[in-house]
């Protein structure tokens, strides 16, 4: 028995829409099996993961908080991946964005009383992320260096740099040897929108606005057309007069800026200060969000909420069912696998070939 792929003459619109759902369903099934193997009740665990976090208002706020950086980063990544620029270093751009944005409250603490503080911080965060992303972009454009490896290496460098800052020059003297920078105050804190109900801040609004704007770019504007052409067929892109070099910079700077913005939003909002660990791997989870959302910013909003749900669910399940929160990471990885596998159905039909038929029909042709 063998599995064979037969190319479809055109992409299947049906599967383009269905594949994320099929992938999610498969992941849920895999999760159920996993929980059973771990000796926990599958239904209890699945409920804790996917339903329980949705039942309380404060929990919905937490969902928004977790989803915001995922969506912001993934939207930028969608532009990158669509143009065949593989920015895997969003985690690093997130960190650097947090650092550059935090420069204001840490180096000029008095400015935190000014209303200009937050907009300045956000802009600096975005610029910092963009500048950091410009490094792998430049190396690819000028030296043809593989951007996956360079952007990834820079993630480790960024994390180490943050560690250095927070333990060294930016350490809060009042914090009794805890490695962290001074807490942000005044206007340097991203305020909660509805403090009575939960902690959600404007981050989720940035995320949704960014998603809508990028969707418009990709689907209605010539620039978006350029992104897709260069990604699908660089030679045709040159024929159209598009510059692949400019696109490298455009996509990396855009996604770097969005990742940087996510970084400073997270640090000025949910966390409130700079510390060695400011991201539970958002930059990498955002890759999954981008693919789950089929590289469509509107789909990414939904996918981001879904993945945020798994983060929350993991924390909840740890308490209620006794399952380690590491399981979440494993399930997220599985989800990406299923998404990619299901995407095959968009381009190919699957045919099972029996061994008997194999013997009579010859193989190999030009």
């Amino acid at each position: 028995m063998r599995l064979e792929l037969v190319k479809r003459p055109q992409h299947s619109k049906l599967f383009s829409a269905l594949s994320p759902f099929i992938a999610f369903a498969l992941t849920v099934i895999a999760g159920a099996i996993l929980f059973a193997l771990l000796g926990k009740s599958p239904t209890a665990a699945l409920y804790a993961y996917f339903i329980a976090p949705l039942t309380e208002v404060w929990s919905l706020h937490e969902l928004a908080i977790k989803a915001a950086p995922l969506i912001l980063i993934a939207v930028g990544l969608s532009v990158c991946f669509l143009s065949n620029n593989w920015n895997i270093g969003a985690e690093g751009q997130f960190v650097i964005g947090a650092v550059t944005g935090a420069m204001l409250p840490i180096l000029y603490p008095a400015l935190q009383q000014s209303m200009a503080a937050m907009p300045l911080m956000l802009v600096m965060g975005a610029l910092g992320g963009a500048a950091y992303a410009a490094i792998p972009a430049f190396l690819k454009a000028r030296f043809n260096t593989n951007e996956i490896l360079t952007s990834l290496m820079l993630v480790y460098v960024a994390q180490l740099f943050l560690d250095y800052l927070v333990r060294g020059p930016w350490r809060d003297p009042a914090a009794m040897n805890f490695p962290q920078a001074p807490r942000f105050t005044g206007y340097a804190v991203l305020p909660e929108m509805m403090p009575m109900d939960g902690r959600a801040n404007a981050g989720i609004i940035f995320a949704v606005v960014a998603a809508v704007l990028v969707w418009l770019l990709l689907n209605r504007m010539l620039k978006g057309f350029e992104v897709k052409v260069i990604g699908m067929s660089p030679r045709a892109g040159r024929f159209a007069g598009f510059s692949t070099t400019r696109m490298i910079f455009f996509s990396f700077l855009l996604s770097g800026a969005l990742a940087g913005l996510a970084g400073i939003s997270e640090v000025a909002g949910a966390i409130g200060r700079l510390q060695p660990s400011i991201s539970p791997g958002y930059g990498f989870a955002a890759i999954i969000v981008a693919f789950l959302g089929r590289l469509n910013p509107l789909g990414i909003i939904a996918a981001g909420l879904l993945l945020a749900l798994t983060y929350l669910g993991g924390e909840a399940a740890q308490i209620s069912v006794g399952v380690s929160d590491k399981v979440v990471r494993a399930l997220q990885g599985l989800l990406l696998f299923f998404v990619l596998a299901c995407d095959t159905l968009i381009h190919y039909r699957i045919r099972f070939v029996s061994a008997v038929r194999d013997a009579t029909e010859a193989k190999g042709n030009v």
Partner: protein, 522 residues
């Protein structure tokens, strides 16, 4: 049952290959419909037909890469079932494909070794290959890396690889499409030598004069059926063509060529360009002028810099100022968009992946080439560049109608169209703008005869409007049909142009082989 070769008895066991009623269907499409064919020992047999006639399907069944649905194949009188290329080789059938299966990073000997059994050491294979190649007049160096070889030399590897397995029947698929006339002559000598040794050849071609020259008999296919068995020497190219196409082929109508007197619309002066990659061809000092209402044809075998020349002229690669002038304006520093704004249009050799994006719809592919030139019609909102879908779609449908593009949906993806239909769309996309200068690379490659004739006529009609056309083509027949003047590209250099009335196939052939060094100056 075909007519028996002259002088032979009707005893069937003299036949090397006897195919009866061979049929192959793919779903609802019948690619081969009860095909009969026979080949005697020591015969060169032509298989004629245009693209889509069923030649490759038939031949794939003979070579074991496809299995027939019904019918019989007899080899030396015995019925056989050929289930794989390995079995075909064991019977004694060898094949040289039109598209080579060679590994660029490996040597010729290694390439040959990969298609033979695993037991013989490569050094031995290299020696045998070298000896064989010299014997048959197609010398090759076993230690050369394929990436460094010309197309003609690569074909030799394929032929030697085939001959090393000592076949009795050799199938050749369009072998001269990649050769200069002189190299083709050398090949014919080799084929005649093989025939003298008692081997047989099945020669697939659409080049009728060649077929008349070397083939003893011919089988003509049309829409999967055999329409004739004949002796090509008793036919004319026109009668053969009619058999292949089924009706008299549309003759391209054009006025008698006169020396053009219009303005010079595109002028290329001393264009030189270094090779971009190790396998590319540098361009050396190319000069060319084309006037209004003129068609200049550029002949040459693949791999002599045509693609690089096209890239240079289209602006995908830019030049120094003064090298190229379009309508009198200096275009050297401009990119392809800038040149389009000057009124030029371009059609590259590759449809999918260069002229069109395979996964995108036709309307999106319309935008691909015309977003700059038609910005006022197709885009709104100034710098934002918001796409006006209805405007783009309207233009797309207009081109589809004008060029009679056959498709299965309203606005299908480019990859869903057949080669000929996609080419009609791509050319139509440019013609719709009535460009002052049109540069086309291989306008009818892989396109069926009907669409090809339509395309050639469209190119000529364009000149009636005063446009200048440059056609780069490997098909000399095509160039002779539509050009006013003809030049030849060889090793990155271009010869001076020759008025079509003075050009002969021989002269052009020599230039293609690079023989005429003197005729280089403009």
């Amino acid at each position: 049952m075909g007519n028996t070769p002259p002088g032979a008895t009707s005893d069937e066991t003299d036949l090397l290959l006897d195919v009866r009623g061979l049929t192959k269907t793919f779903g609802t499409l019948t690619a081969c419909d009860r095909v009969d064919l026979d080949i005697a020992k020591g015969e060169i047999h032509a298989l004629l037909g245009e693209n889509g006639a069923g030649k490759s399907t038939l031949v794939k069944m003979l070579f074991g890469t496809l299995t027939p649905n019904s019918g019989e194949i007899r080899w030396n009188g015995r019925p056989v079932a050929i289930r794989s290329p390995g079995e075909a080789r064991r019977l004694g059938i060898g094949m040289v494909f039109q598209h080579f299966s060679l590994f660029e990073a490996l040597t010729a000997a290694e390439n040959i070794a990969l298609s033979l059994d695993a037991r013989t050491p490569i050094s031995q294979i290299a020696e045998r290959a070298r000896t064989l190649s010299v014997n048959y007049g197609l010398p090759l160096d076993p230690d050369a890396h394929v990436g460094d070889l010309s197309v003609g030399e690569r074909q030799r590897i394929e032929i030697i690889r085939c001959l090393l397995q000592e076949p009795q029947l050799i199938i050749l698929d369009e072998p001269t499409s990649v050769l200069t006339p002189q190299e083709a002559d050398k090949l014919f000598e080799t084929l005649e030598r093989l025939r003298g040794e008692g081997k047989s050849i099945l020669y697939i071609s659409h080049r009728l004069e060649e077929v008349q020259r070397i083939c003893d008999r011919a089988t003509v296919l049309r829409h999967g059926k055999v329409v004739a068995h004949c002796n090509p020497r008793e036919q004319t190219p026109a009668s053969l063509a009619t058999m292949m196409v089924g009706s008299s082929v549309h003759e391209v109508k054009r006025e008698a060529a006169q020396a053009a007197t219009g303005a010079v619309l595109i002028e290329i002066a001393n264009l030189s360009q270094p090779a971009k990659t190790p396998f590319a061809m540098p361009l050396k000092n190319i000069s060319l002028s084309v006037r209004a209402s003129e068609v200049v044809g550029i002949a040459g075998v693949a791999g002599n810099g045509q693609g690089e020349f096209f890239e240079a002229v289209s602006g995908e690669v830019r030049q120094a100022a003064g090298t190229i002038r379009i309508r009198g304006v200096d275009a050297g520093l401009l990119g392809i968009s800038g040149r389009r704004l000057l009124g030029a249009g371009f059609v590259p050799e590759e449809r999918l992946g260069h002229g069109a994006v395979p996964g995108m719809k036709l309307s999106e592919n319309m935008l691909l080439a015309r977003h700059k030139s038609d910005a006022r019609a197709f885009l709104r909102g100034g710098a934002l560049g918001v796409i006006d879908r209805s405007a783009v779609e309207a233009t797309t449908q207009r081109v589809i109608k004008e060029m009679d593009v056959r498709k299965s949906a309203e606005d299908p993806e480019a990859s869903a169209l057949s080669g000929g239909n996609l080419q009609k769309f791509i050319i139509g996309r440019e013609l719709d703008r009535t460009p002052s200068v049109l540069v086309v690379n291989q306008p009818t490659w892989g396109v069926d005869a009907g669409a090809a004739a339509r395309i050639r006529q469209a190119l000529i009609d364009l000149t009636r409007n005063g446009s200048a056309v440059i056609v780069i083509s490997q098909d000399l027949d095509e160039l002779f049909e539509i050009s006013d003047r003809i030049a030849v590209m060889s090793h990155g250099e271009m010869s001076a142009t020759i008025p079509i009335a003075e050009a002969t196939r021989e002269k052009i052939g020599l230039l293609m082989g690079g023989a005429d060094e003197a005729a280089r100056a403009h």
